[in-house]
Subunit: 242 residues, 2 copies
């Protein structure tokens, strides 16, 4: 797929059984566009996986390094290689496109452009790696979510992701976290995003350890539902080893 | 200045007394690059201001709408106008540059490009507004911070911003928020960013009501300092009316 939105659309439409979307990078943080897609979609999260991400500077065979004036990639990858680009190509234009695959595809026949993408894109589009492993942080990793339409049953070591909309009043976040704490449930991630209901209102994306089928988890969820304007379980899924 | 980094640099170097940097947009959320700059800089936050943001599609006089194949702007502005661009210029390339001013400057002599920027850039660079108010959300607003080198004394209605690094263990965020709650201090924003110390470790950016000189606030801060790996007060400043 050319973009994250399309992965959500294809899964929701039933054209494919599963999709894989990036959700968080260790250097650049959360991928907002993926979180925002969950607000508008009814897909379930079925799993997660973490991968080390290496970025390469890809060019077509005809491209001389000194001629590179434009570099294409997804905005996230451009950000993950920002320092490398600042020092090696300070004057080249950075063009944010919808995916790294799209960037690689686009430069196939260009003589003055490069793309930042991974090994698979280099192979798929017959490009040369002009510079390898150009990511700024040596342990650059991305967490991906596997999305589908069916819930997944408990594996014994699971995580659950929820979206919660709370009214914008003092103590809202603290009160939201309290039931998790009192029930001994570990939060692994709390992320805030603007809601679609007017300026300066927010929704929280919360990941925690446990499966929605567990007694303890379902009682916390109903406790939260009592105080929140809206709660939606995005899915419970086997925890990735990180 | 051409980019956020430069504003931080000029203020820290004493070349200017104050700088203004965007920190959060009501449509697109937090401006990560600004938060990350605070991690590496010793500047103080001296104030905040919220502004309604209108984006326009700017072109030079020689540009015909049907010839526009590239649109320049800051990545944030491109994101704030994403739906408009998808419907009006689905095929045009979106080029993320360091600022909207830079985008406007760049298209002055181009016949096939447009920039997304505001009124001031249009005036400054003599550009024509081909389409006005193209932001996706009608109440699109941005909160800016005023940064300087001197702390600001209490005004009676203040906010304080801090950065806290905690060790990555269960309950870390909850335990961090507890002292605020028990002292009746309202949090206005909690943001998580990757720390620079290895993959999957985080720092929290916390905004709350009160001035660091207040007894109640300073006791909360010392309580937090006991449990956190690192706490830094970015500044206390008069609260903006929002």
């Amino acid at each position: 797929m050319a973009a994250i939105d399309e992965v959500f659309r294809e899964v929701a439409a039933g054209a494919v059984n599963y999709g894989v979307v990036p959700v968080e990078n260790s250097t650049e943080g959360v991928i907002n566009h993926t979180l925002d897609n969950f607000m508008d979609s009814s897909v379930h999260i079925c799993g997660e996986v973490e991968l080390r991400i290496h970025h390469h500077l890809l060019v077509s065979d005809i491209t001389k390094t000194e001629n590179i004036t434009r570099i294409y990639s997804h905005a996230q990858s451009l950000a993950q290689c920002r320092k490398w680009l600042d020092s090696h190509f300070p004057k080249a234009e950075r063009v944010a496109v919808s995916s790294n695959a799209e960037a690689a595809k686009r430069i196939q026949s260009e003589w003055n452009s490069a793309a930042i993408a991974g090994d698979m894109a280099a192979e798929l589009y017959g490009l040369t790696k002009r510079s390898e492993k150009i990511e700024d942080m040596p342990d650059n990793s991305t967490r991906f979510l596997i999305i589908g339409t069916q819930p997944v049953s408990a594996s014994g070591d699971d995580k659950t992701s929820i979206i919660v909309a709370v009214s914008n009043k003092p103590g809202a976040l603290y009160n939201l976290l309290a039931p998790f704490h009192s029930n001994g449930i570990d939060l692994t991630r709390v992320e805030t995003r603007p809601s679609r209901n007017g300026a300066w209102s927010y929704v929280f994306f919360i990941d925690f350890v446990g499966h929605a089928d567990e007694q303890k988890v379902s009682s916390v969820l109903s406790e939260i539902a009592d105080q929140a304007a809206d709660v939606r379980v995005l899915g419970s899924y086997p925890r990735a080893v990180m």
